[in-house]
Amino acid sequence: MYGHAGNILRVNLTDGTHSITPLPEDLAREYLGGRGFVAKLLWDEVSSGVDPLGPDNKIVAAPGPLTGVFLPGSGKLHFGAKSPATGGYGDSNVGGHISPEIKFAGYDAIIIEGKADKPVYLFIENDTIEVRDAEKYWGKGAIESETMLKHDLGEEFQIATIGPAGENMVYFACISHDFGRQAGRTGVGAVMGSKNLKAIAVRGTKSIPLANPDAVLEVGKAMFEGCFSKPGFEEWTPQGTAGVTDWVNEVGAFPTHNFMTSYFPKHSQINGEQIVNKLKITDKGCYSCPIPCGKYGRAKTPKYDVYVEGPEYETVALIGGNTEMETIEDVAYANYVCDELGLDSISGGNVVGFAMECYENGVITKEQLDGQELRFGSVHDFVWLCNQIATRQGIGDALANGVRYASEKWGKGTERYAIQVKGLEWSGYEGRYAPAMMLSYMTCDVGAHHNRSWAITYDVQAGREQLEGKAAKVIELQHVRPMFDLLCLCRLQWVELGFELDWYPKVFQAVTGEEYTWDDLMKVSERVWNLTRSFWVREIPGFGRSMDYPPARFSEEPIPTGPAEGKYIPMEGLDQLLDDYYRLRGWDLNGIPSTDKLEQLNLGFAEKVVAERRSKGVAN
């Protein structure tokens, strides 16, 4: 299939060998690329029951068939591995420029297996593949080591690194790239660290094979023109994703004080306008993006002076609202510290918020912390704790395994406010007055992440009390949005500009020469969704409905303040949402995909494994 570079690169870190093999045609046709390749390759290659941080886990990094091509937003890369944070299916995507670079070097997927006996980095320059010594970069910050590698190899190399958090296998360590972009979620950075892999450096000079270059030029131009003509092209871009901060507060969905409430009275001090006025140096976009959401800037006060990309909305929400930072400079500084340590700022803000509430409730005491405090609103305390976590010192060691682990270890009712699903910390939208958004988090296939189904706007449009109809919308979004991750495109042109979805089958055909209708693309997306669900069933004994619920705070505690005051979704409501969702998906009442559904999606190979689990009597 055109569009693909045509090769899979496999690197074994245990013995330092590699192989390059042709991309299987059926993999390309049935799974397209990116997230699809990650899901299928992990299913096929990672044996059931392996330790996520052991040598038998694998990292897959996959661009997609449209990655690197002249069309808006073609710069995404999908990383995946069995997740140390959840024990289930894990993936995370990153923008920047490394994904096209992998294509230009000639690869559609990189599979990294085994474990090096000392720190190494993977060097890729077209056909030259080397596992190189990384002793001098080990222990350095993620951005510092990227800077060093660019200096040593050349500016044209695209670099993915981990920071100390990844080296120390913190469950929410990210993979960093392009000075402030991260594959942040599910602990993919910890898996790199577990393999002693500090970085991946890539340079490629090849052209991407196109079925019809004239058609790509024509359709690509029309797509860019389409983006230029949308009102959001001028209006949305200056603030990027953080522009939504005020709105999320106005609708009462902003994580605040460890998700105790959903409105932060000081939100206008940390919104997109503040980023533009107080931090921004330049718009910094990913490859091929007409609407760069990245706001590269500098946070300078008498206490610190740092360059940092962002904060983007999620960081504003999880560091800003959730730990109650009162200035945009403090949010940016905390963001910088997370970036350099290699901590996901979503889980990072969530975990620190959790620890601050534990401190407030006396579960953690000042004496335990050798006199250090953990106060909401203190960037000093935030940064101190992040360093403890990244180096696994003191209470940082338990927190480094995420809020699910820490709450189970500490008890005392902390599970109630450990805000996670399946072991992954909740991201930037509070769901107690947004049933579709709540259901999106409950059923997301990596744990509590927003990006598979950003349904909160639908809640606001369709009625926020209403539960009926929400499951259908969530399923629709869970197929549309991850479709972008199959092709490894950015979805923000569609989400933020209202750029029309019918462009994608057209450009897919121009690039690949293959006709996939919109329904065909959705079918692949549904196939991958059912395969990732099956991965959970395979890996987690007793997996099912019980793992789709949010923490008790969301089903038992009414929101105490703000526009959504008094709202929550009791268990009966959550069950109604799940019942609808499972039925519409063709899953049983325990949330296990049915035989018919799996076979209908050409997932007969998964059915064998799932059937065995079904028969072990997970109650229906």
């Binding site: 690197g68 091509v69 002249f70 420029h97 096209p100 230009f104 951005i143 800077t147 500016e155 044209e156 392009d178 000075f179 000079t205 090849k206 052209s207 991407i208 196109l210 270059p213 004239d214 790509v216 030029l217 690509g220 131009k221 860019f224 023109e225 389409g226 983006c227 230029f228 003509s229 140096i281 330049t282 718009d283 910094k284 976009g285 990913c286 490859y287 091929s288 993006c289 007409p290 609407i291 760069p292 990245g294 590269y296 800037g297 500098r298 360059y307």
Partner: protein
């Protein structure tokens, strides 16, 4: 039309480079584009563009006369180029691009396509004739 770079507007997207390679080579390859983008991170935290100013210094050093003036731009005839790199060395802007698969270096012919599709207004026509396209 005179191509002018306003580096402070650049967000590093490489749309110009992809377009350039598609227009001139029918290939999708930013490294076969006649202009350069370098990120400068973490500090000072911006992008630097390098473009051909059509100054014409290259014309005089070319031993085969492969670079000729055409409608106000100096255009490299790739058939006549022997790949000696004299122009690359002589260019005061360091604007020529060298690619391992190509004998001839890659030079801007001032076609103006990049101006029409630069999303951020970082590439403009100093004469103000060409502008970003709109539907």
């Amino acid at each position: 039309m005179r191509l002018q770079a306003i580096s402070s507007n650049c967000s590093g997207c490489k749309v110009c480079q992809m377009l350039c390679s598609l227009v001139h080579f029918k290939e999708n390859n930013p490294k076969k584009a006649a202009l350069k983008i370098a990120g400068r991170f973490p500090a000072p935290g911006d992008y630097e563009l390098t473009v051909c100013t059509q100054c014409g210094v290259c014309v005089d050093v070319c031993p085969t006369g492969a670079i000729q003036e055409k409608d106000g731009a100096y255009v490299l005839n790739r058939e006549e180029c022997i790949g000696c790199q004299a122009c690359v060395e002589a260019c005061p802007e360091n604007a020529f691009v060298v690619h391992a698969d190509e004998t001839a270096p890659i030079k801007c012919d001032a076609c103006g396509e990049c101006i029409k599709y630069c999303p951020r207004g970082a590439l403009v026509d100093a004469d103000g004739v060409l502008q970003r396209v709109a539907k």
